[in-house]
């Protein structure tokens, strides 16, 4: 289980960086073309549903990133391999940005659709809690000067907070919420027309590339931060 990071791994990540940046920009340009020009408007919501193309991928990656974060914290707790700690700290902030983006774009979509910017229903509230969990994880690590202790406390918080993820996912099925249930699920045909699925999937791919690109930059950043902390002690 003990994986060590060697210098040639970092060199490889470094050399992949420009290609990843290019691929991310390329995917976003294609995605923007599809979501703003190619996609038809919705039969009820009209053009305001175009916000979905950035809202839904943001929400998906907010949840996925947190799952990886909690997963690596579990692995770190059990194996104490510092690599998992580095992975968790690399992706936490990207997840926080995606959570914030899904909250903001969702709010801007809610105004013309529901008639309000915000409601305290189960889906929106649990998503806001996810945002606070990300902030707590990041700030706890920064605030505690003993970094071994900081890693333990923030990892414990991330693991306990994982209970929020199934709550977000199933809130729309378990309780009456203003937020609609999922349009895409594995078990049934999607309730979204194909002409709208294509832009959604391109934007999802673009957001995924962004997640990978920034996480790898942060991976290098966190490794150097660790080295600085070690030498200054």
């Amino acid at each position: 289980m003990y994986i060590k990071i060697k210098n040639n791994h970092i060199e490889f990540i470094k050399s992949a960086n420009p290609y990843l940046i290019f691929a991310t920009i390329f995917a976003f340009v294609i995605g923007l073309y599809y979501s703003l020009f190619q996609s038809p408007p919705d039969y009820i919501q009209g053009d305001s549903m175009r916000i979905m193309y950035i809202h839904v991928p943001s929400a998906w990656f907010a949840l996925m990133t947190y799952s990886i974060l909690a997963g690596s914290c579990v692995l770190w707790f059990i194996t104490r391999n510092p690599l998992f700690n580095v992975v968790a700290r690399s992706i936490a902030q990207v997840g926080m940005v995606f959570t914030l983006m899904s909250l903001i774009t969702g709010s801007i979509w809610g105004k013309p659709t529901w008639g309000v910017w915000w409601v305290w229903d189960a889906r929106l509230t649990s998503m806001l809690i996810l945002f606070f969990l990300y902030i707590a994880y990041i700030f706890l690590w920064q605030a505690i000067s003993n970094k071994e202790l900081a890693s333990k406390i923030s990892a414990a918080l991330a693991i306990i907070g994982f209970i929020n993820i199934p709550i977000i996912k199933f809130s729309v099925d378990w309780w009456n919420t203003l937020h609609q249930p999922a349009s895409i699920s594995k078990l049934s045909a999607p309730s979204i027309d194909e002409s709208m699925l294509i832009p959604l999937f391109i934007m999802t791919a673009a957001c995924f590339l962004f997640l990978v690109t920034v996480s790898l930059i942060r991976f290098r950043l966190v490794l150097i931060e660790n080295k600085i902390l070690r030498t200054s002690n």
Binding site: M1, P40, P41, D42, Y43, I44, Q45, M49, M52, V74, F77, I78, T79, P112, T113, W114, G115, V116, V119, W120, D121, A122, I159, I160, I163, I167, W175, N176, T177, L178, Q180, P181, A182, S183, S191, I192, D193, S195, M196
Partner: protein, 145 residues
Amino acid sequence: MSSLVKSRLIKFLLSLIIVSIAVLIIIFNLRDNIIYFYGPTELLKISDKQGQIMRLGGLVSVDSFQNETDSIFYFSITDGENEIDVKYEGILPNLFAEDKGVVVEGVYMNDGRFIANKVLAKHDENYMPPEVIETLKKSGKWQGE
């Protein structure tokens, strides 16, 4: 696997089980507070509902919408079983329509009418371009309105 890793794994799994049981208990106790709105059938079942501020949600019944003036509206909300008449004074959201989802906030009166002071349109999970709806309607495959 070393014994140290094994003992950590067991400790971790134990605490995970304890935390999830605690959370499940909390969720089931909070159930009534987490529900954002009641359907007409659920609302009618509640005792001492009169005079309390609550939210009612469902579909706007077909042919029930009337407006007295530009800002006073009457409609009923249905869940297929029961119907509740609603009176609302204010501005309706753009997506408000008969046979579409809606959530209203207000007070259930003694005469069985719901006086709303807030109306929210509830969108469903379907996303379709207008042309697709037209063809679906023509072929008779469209399940909606």
